[in-house]
Amino acid sequence: MGNKKTIIYKEPERSIVIKFSMVACLLVMSIIVKCQVETLTIICNSNGAPATMKFTELRSVMKGERQRWNSGAKVVIALMKTSTTVGKNTAQVIYNMSGDALLKYWLGQTYQGNAHAPKFFNTKSELEEYVAENPGAIGVIDPPPANNEVKIVSVDGKTQFIL
């Protein structure tokens, strides 16, 4: 017992520094990660969705309440799966729901035949590619978009949603 006290006692300053440093690193890293994930960008096919939208308008489109663009193109929604962070964030930010609730919501919509369910993807690239290839498609990703064929929709004057 006496030996242990002695050892703890011998290195108090260096241990506190190390711990502090590690906590600081973790805080920095978590801030960095948080800054990266909690940013969402709305992308769309070059044909269909307008370049700018209001959030209410966006929510209406994303919930399937509006199914045609002004151009007449059919609204096609592309989302990341709710098992992904972007997907969860999308459910929370855009739909104001949990992931499961989002799924149940779309299940209900599909069941009733009110709207076509979104297309859910596992990866960002797949989603971007799908949006680029389908006129009227609109999707939610974490910025920046890697595919040049999609365009970013500005919502309420902003190109990104920061949670």
């Binding site: 499961d100 799924l103 299940l107 069941y111 009733q112 035949g113």
Partner: protein, 528 residues
């Protein structure tokens, strides 16, 4: 109750058709309804399972294409009543030891339907459940389809069954009638033809329209009738031949009978001739007396005239007495001749066929003499002794027997003639012939003996000669008509035959005892 063949066939076919109709009308539709219901249930269940699977995929894979496709498929189905999603929630109790499953009707399409979560199938709908169970939620898909289509299908099946049953029944009845007709018509035709053949009409033929058993039967029947016809034609020909033969035989028989009558008549005439000869001899004798005494009387009358003229009355009286004696003798012999003629007349009369009491001894004696003298008249060389030994009791009034005397007389005459013929034949045989004239008979005396005797209720008449005797071969045939051992022209061969028949008709017997070359004895037995 007897059913005709046609009725039986028709009833059989009708029964089969009715049974088949029953199956078509009731059993098959019932089976079809069951199958339809089963398939419908399976289909609805599969759709419910598909929708549930789509929900599963949507919630686990976040792929809604499946549920969209399944729902589109279900919604487009006109039979859909509703499709509901029921969510199960587990609600724990306050102590967290017990829980309840709470069923919440989450979504229903169409929206105007509000079924209870525990709704079950009934007559108007079929409800099937498809379970889904994911991390997001678990529950059932309730899929309800209307049964209108099934009911409509069942109605169509019933109508179809009714129509098919009617058609089957109609076809069956027509087929039954056709079959009954096809089978019964030829059979009835066969029956009618067989009846007509049975009535003797062999021109019957049945028309053969088929090569089956009935056709073969008809062919066999036709062959049989043809054979019968041939047999009948042959039979008719044989009958005609037989008729012709019969006609010829009848003709021959008539001729034979005529010849027999003629022969019998000849036999009678021969007998009559012999009788006549005997009678003539019998008459000749008294007539000789009558003639001689008449001539003598004539001479005596002449002598008496001379004596009277001479005045010798005594002499004349003496001659007159002689004349009277002679006249008595003439009268006596005239009466004798009269008796003979009467006897001849008696014999010459046709037989009345009536039996009468007869002195058999007198009859036998009379015919013996007639026979003897008849033969003597015909043949002067003939000579024979004859002996009689009559039972005198038969000559008494009580001894007479009841016979047709003419017929029995003919029998006796025939036997006497044969006996005299035999002894005469034997007397003609040279004595050196040791075979025909045994030693000791060199001094042969032909003898015919007749005896009568009453034995019990019978009269026995024996006619025996010591002539040639009769061989065994002749004995076997001597009673046959027209059999004779005499030379042609001397015998008709009917004597013994007629004698046999006459004795038999009197209820008597005629027997022969003989030894060839020594004697022959006919024994007649007649009932008294």
């Amino acid at each position: 109750m007897v059913f005709s063949l046609k009725s039986r066939i028709w009833l059989t076919v009708f029964s089969i058709v009715v049974m088949f109709t029953f199956f078509t009308l009731f059993y098959f539709p019932a089976q079809q309804r069951k199958l339809l219901l089963k398939n419908y249930n399976t289909e609805v269940q599969n759709l419910a399972n598909t929708v549930a699977l789509g929900v599963n995929i949507a919630l686990t894979e976040q792929n809604f294409e499946g549920i969209e496709t399944a729902m589109k498929f279900v919604k487009d189905d006109s039979r859909l009543q509703f499709v509901s999603m029921v969510e199960y929630d587990t609600v724990w109790g306050n102590d967290h030891h017990n829980f309840q499953v709470k069923k919440t009707m989450l979504k229903t399409f169409p929206k105007n339907q509000h079924p209870a979560p525990n709704i079950q199938s009934n007559n108007s709908i079929i409800v099937k459940r498809g379970m889904f169970n994911t991390a997001v939620m678990s529950g059932d898909i309730l899929l309800a389809f209307t049964t209108k289509e099934i009911i409509e299908s069942q109605r169509k099946i019933r109508i179809t069954s009714l129509i098919v049953s009617g058609i089957v029944l109609l076809i069956g009845i027509l087929f039954g009638l056709l079959l009954a007709r096809k089978v019964s018509v030829p059979v009835l035709a066969l029956r009618d033809a067989a009846n007509r053949v049975g009535d003797g009409d062999l021109s019957q033929k049945v028309k053969i329209k088929s090569g089956d058993e009935i056709g073969q039967l008809g062919k066999a029947f036709n062959n049989m009738v043809a054979d019968l016809l041939k047999a009948r034609v042959a039979l008719d020909e044989n009958n005609q031949a037989l008729s012709a033969s019969n006609a010829r035989l009848n003709n021959t028989l008539r001729e034979l009978k005529s010849a027999q009558v003629q022969l019998i008549q000849s036999e009678k005439m021969a007998s009559l001739g012999e009788l006549t000869a005997g009678i003539a001899h019998e008459i000749q004798n008294p007539l000789n007396f009558v003639n001689n005494f008449s001539e003598l009387n004539t001479e005596l009358i002449d002598e008496m005239k001379i004596e009277l003229d001479a005045g010798n009355n005594k002499e004349a009286i003496s001659i007159a007495e002689n004349i009277k004696d002679n006249q008595d003798k003439i009268t006596h012999h005239g009466k004798r001749a009269d008796a003979i003629v009467k006897g001849m007349l008696h014999h010459s009369r046709s037989s009345t066929g009536q039996k009468e009491l007869t002195d058999i001894n007198a009859l036998a004696d009379e015919y013996l003499r007639l026979s003897y003298h008849g033969l003597r008249a015909k043949d002067k060389a003939f000579n024979s002794n004859f002996k009689t030994n009559f039972d005198k009791s038969l000559s008494s009034e009580n001894g007479k027997i009841n016979i047709i005397s003419q017929d029995i007389g003919r029998v006796l005459l025939n036997l006497y003639n044969n006996a005299f013929y035999s002894v005469m034949e034997k007397s003609k045989v040279p004595h050196s012939d040791s075979n025909r004239a045994p030693k000791g008979e060199v001094d042969y005396e032909p003898t015919v003996s007749v005896s009568t005797k009453k034995i019990n209720n019978n009269v026995e008449i024996k006619i025996k000669d010591n002539g040639m005797g009769i061989s065994k071969k002749v004995i076997d045939k001597m009673y046959q008509p027209f059999f004779t051992t005499k030379p042609t022209g001397q015998g008709t061969g009917l004597g013994l035959s007629l004698s046999y028949d006459i004795i038999k008709s009197h209820g008597g017997e005629i027997k022969i005892e003989t030894k060839e070359g020594e004697y022959a004895e006919f024994i007649i037995e007649l009932p008294c």
